[in-house]
């Protein structure tokens, strides 16, 4: 557990970067600090491992006052990941990962096997161990950065915009893998970002800071989106927050209607039999492939006839996914599947809207 | 000090001579280095032979080069032309690499957009690439200028008159004053050259004067 106890950072010129921060980052959870530039989020993070010394207040890690600990020892017990990865260019990937273990006096062999284990953990093949950082893409470097921070298995991780410098597609991959990793490891994580979407995606708890290092709101992501504390938070959380908030609501009670399907290769007669404007096509395992418009079909069904625009929602998933499935389907019937991707049925846009309204009305989240 | 006051004329004419012998090669060297640097950018395979080749010239000791010049040029040993050519060679040794690297440091996006707007290679060089390369070239010029002023004094050993003559005079007569005056005059001359180059760079790069937080005035 990391506890900020009225922590301040005032610079000699009088600028207050952080003005009396009170915050607790609970064990095994991801606490995200988010806010505009100049809100003191990075300063707050860097005060935890004393890369910056606070000018007032206390920071406690597992109830121990960090100010009373040796700074280097303190840092060796915390993982630290930064935006540019900061890998050592003169060391191989494996040696980079082994930095803290070696500082802690582990022998070469043990450090090496730990490096290889972590490389696999963060999804990089073992032969990368003997590469140098310049041989890696930005996303791969960042994975190594995470592996390096995890090397000595520290209970606490400090992460300063670790995914900001990579392109959006890779960022999303890294975020997903990071969440998977965290569900295995259960570290106490303090995570800084300027990106509110990243904050609500990753955080168990999100602290929105305003300029001057004061907390505007601390809440779980759904609350933050659904009930912003004031104009600043509402503004920062941004547009579409109602829609984005649906992402945190599990699907309300829906009763999918059965949906007739045809297979690829079906003849014109079979396709036109139902008389509906849109017809769903599935494969032999009953996994939905796409919609077709029977009135336009003049020959047995081929892949090119499929309308690919519709998304598919997993039954029991978020309201957002179900709503999106209904909105994106040309038939306006959202396709629901089970965990294996097999068709369960469809729901109409009206049914989804009613169900969401009912859920919101009940005040359930 | 008395010696200095009594020999102001000598020191003055030596300084002027020294400035010519160090300054003319600096300009000549730049004039030759620019086309060579440009060639090495246009034709990539030329870069290594040109940069390494001219760099090798710097390994020839100055005394040796001064002495060998008459053999190559057919001049007499006392001809100042020997010094000018030798110093031009040293300037080239430093500047070809600088110009080549400076032109390469111009961002591809800039040269590409200049080309896309229809600038031919030569016009692009003079209106876009060279101006942007000025800061880097200027840094190289400053090193070459200081180094030239120092090396020229060695020519006193073969008898070409300039500030170095004060060193040999003083040494032969076991008299420190001329040597110290020569040292001071050399350092002042190097400083003057440096100031001129810095001023010229400022004039040529007005876009850098708007207070961008770069440490260029180090």
């Amino acid at each position: 557990m990391i506890r900020f106890d009225s922590v301040t950072k005032e610079y000699p010129d009088g600028t207050v970067a952080v003005g009396g921060l009170d915050l607790t980052a609970p064990d095994g959870k991801i606490t995200v600090l988010v806010g505009p530039s100049g809100c003191g989020k990075t300063t707050s993070l860097r005060m935890v491992n004393r890369m910056i010394e606070p000018t007032g207040g206390r920071i406690l890690v597992d109830d121990k006052d960090t100010a009373k600990m040796d700074a280097a020892e303190l840092r060796r017990g915390m993982g630290y990941v930064i935006q540019q990865a900061g890998l050592f260019p003169h060391r191989t990937v494996a040696d980079n990962i082994a930095t803290v273990p070696r500082l802690l006096g582990w022998d070469r062999r043990k450090s090496r096997s730990r490096s290889l284990e972590l490389l696999e953990r963060v999804g990089l093949p073992g032969e990368y161990a003997d590469r140098y950082p310049h041989q890696l893409s930005g996303g791969q470097q960042q994975r190594v950065g995470v592996a390096r921070a995890l090397a000595a298995d520290p209970p606490v991780m400090l992460m300063d915009e670790p995914f900001s410098a990579v392109d959006p597609v890779v960022r999303e991959q890294l975020q997903d893998e990071f969440l998977r990793l965290q569900s295995d490891l259960g570290k106490t994580i303090l995570f800084v970002t300027h990106d509110i979407d990243e904050a609500v995606k990753l955080g168990d708890q999100v602290a929105v800071l305003r300029v001057g290092g004061q907390i505007a709101q601390v809440a779980d992501p759904a609350t933050l989106l659904g009930d912003p504390h004031d104009d600043f938070v509402a503004d920062f959380v941004g547009r579409d927050r109602g829609y984005r908030g649906l992402g945190f609501r599990t699907a309300p009670v829906l009763e999918p209607s059965p949906e007739p399907t045809v297979r690829l290769g079906a003849g014109v007669d079979e396709v036109r039999r139902s008389g509906d404007q849109w017809l769903l096509v599935a494969d032999d395992d009953n996994r939905p492939l796409g919609w077709v418009e029977p009135s336009r079909i003049t020959a047995p069904l081929v892949t090119e006839d499929l309308h690919r625009g519709g998304t598919v929602a997993v039954l029991g998933g978020s309201s957002r996914a179900v709503l999106d499935a209904a909105l994106s389907a040309p038939s306006r019937r959202g396709v629901l599947v089970d965990d294996d991707g097999r068709l369960v049925g469809t729901v109409t846009l009206a049914e989804v809207a009613a169900a969401i309204e009912q859920a919101v009305g009940r005040g359930k989240r | 000090m008395d010696w200095v006051l009594g020999h102001l004329d000598d020191i003055g004419s030596y300084t002027v001579q020294h400035a010519w012998l160090a300054g003319v090669p600096l300009v000549l060297g730049l004039l030759i280095a620019v086309p060579l640097g440009w060639l090495s950018r246009q034709y990539n395979w030329l870069y290594t032979p040109l940069v390494v080749g001219t760099g090798l010239l710097y390994t020839i000791p100055s005394l040796a080069l001064f002495i060998l010049m008459p053999l190559l040029l057919g001049t007499t040993i006392l001809d100042p032309l020997n010094v000018v050519v030798a110093m031009t060679i040293y300037t080239l040794a430093l500047l070809v690499r600088t110009v080549a690297d400076a032109l390469r440091s111009v961002p591809d996006s800039v040269t590409a957009s200049a080309t896309a707007m229809g600038l031919r290679p030569l016009r692009r060089l003079f209106t876009v690439e060279l101006p942007l390369a000025v800061p880097v070239i200027s840094a190289g010029m400053r090193v070459a200028a200081v180094s030239n002023v120092s090396i020229v004094s060695v020519a006193a050993l073969i008898g070409v008159p300039q500030l170095g003559s004060l060193f040999t005079d003083g040494f032969q007569r076991d008299f420190l004053d001329p040597i110290v005056s020569g040292l001071v005059a050399c350092v002042v001359l190097a400083l003057l050259f440096d100031l001129v180059i810095v001023a010229a760079t400022r004039l040529l790069t007005p876009w850098l004067r708007t207070g961008a937080p770069t440490g260029r005035a180090a």
Binding site: N49, M51, A72, E73, L74, R75, R76, G77, Y80, I82, A85, G86, L87, F88, P89, H90, R91, T92, T99, P125, E127, Y128, R131, Y132, H134, Q135, L136, S137, Q140, L158 | L56, Y58, T59, I60, P61, L63, A64, I67, L68, L71, V143, V146, V149, S150, S153, L157, I158, L163, L166, F167, G170, F171, L176, V180, L183, C186, V187, A190, D194, A218
Partner: protein, 242 residues
Amino acid sequence: MNAVLTWLTDGAHWQGYDGILQRTWEHVWYSAIALAIAAALAIPLGLWVGHTGRARFLAVNLTGALRAVPSLGLLFASIMVLGSRLDGELATLVPTELVLVVLAVPPILAGAYAGVEQVDAAARDAARGMGMRGSEVLFKVELPCALPLISSGLRSAALQVVATATLAAAVGLGGLGRFLLDGLAVRDYAQMAGGAILVAALALLIDLVASTLQRVVVSPGLTGKTDRRDNALRRLKTTAAS
């Protein structure tokens, strides 16, 4: 040109107390002492300036000013000032070494502080953040990352020192400069040119040795000289695993 070749290939010129071998040995010796002293002074100083960021202004201007001092003048001045206080060969050797050290310090110092300064700020931040102490950051991260620039500073110092060590002959010491000045005195061009070629060849040889040494000492992670097979593999894998 033929005369030069004849001079160089004449076995008699290579032997004896004033032969080429002896002169080359002297030349290397003068240069090595100066480089060792300059490196011992300038590398620690440069590392300290780069690591702490202190006295940077002083270091920049000191290197600039030292470069402007003409070696010949400094040589004569120091012989007159120091020479009278020393005996025998030391009276000329010490001033000569002093001049060569003054010549070698600026490039080495500049290489060392610039080398440390150009270390990726993120790498330095990460090093501290993982719990390295000041000296550990310096020796485990900054120094190895600064090696390419330190060694190129040393190489350019070596070139200048070897070229300038010819001046030792002007104050009565040995070294390859003897052939230049002795040849000049009697207008023996073959001897002068031969001497000049020998100095240039020595400078090149030393640079070659230094560059080989540099390749051994500097991590391939910094030079990009990782082997080809690796690079090809990487190109295949970046698409697969990023």
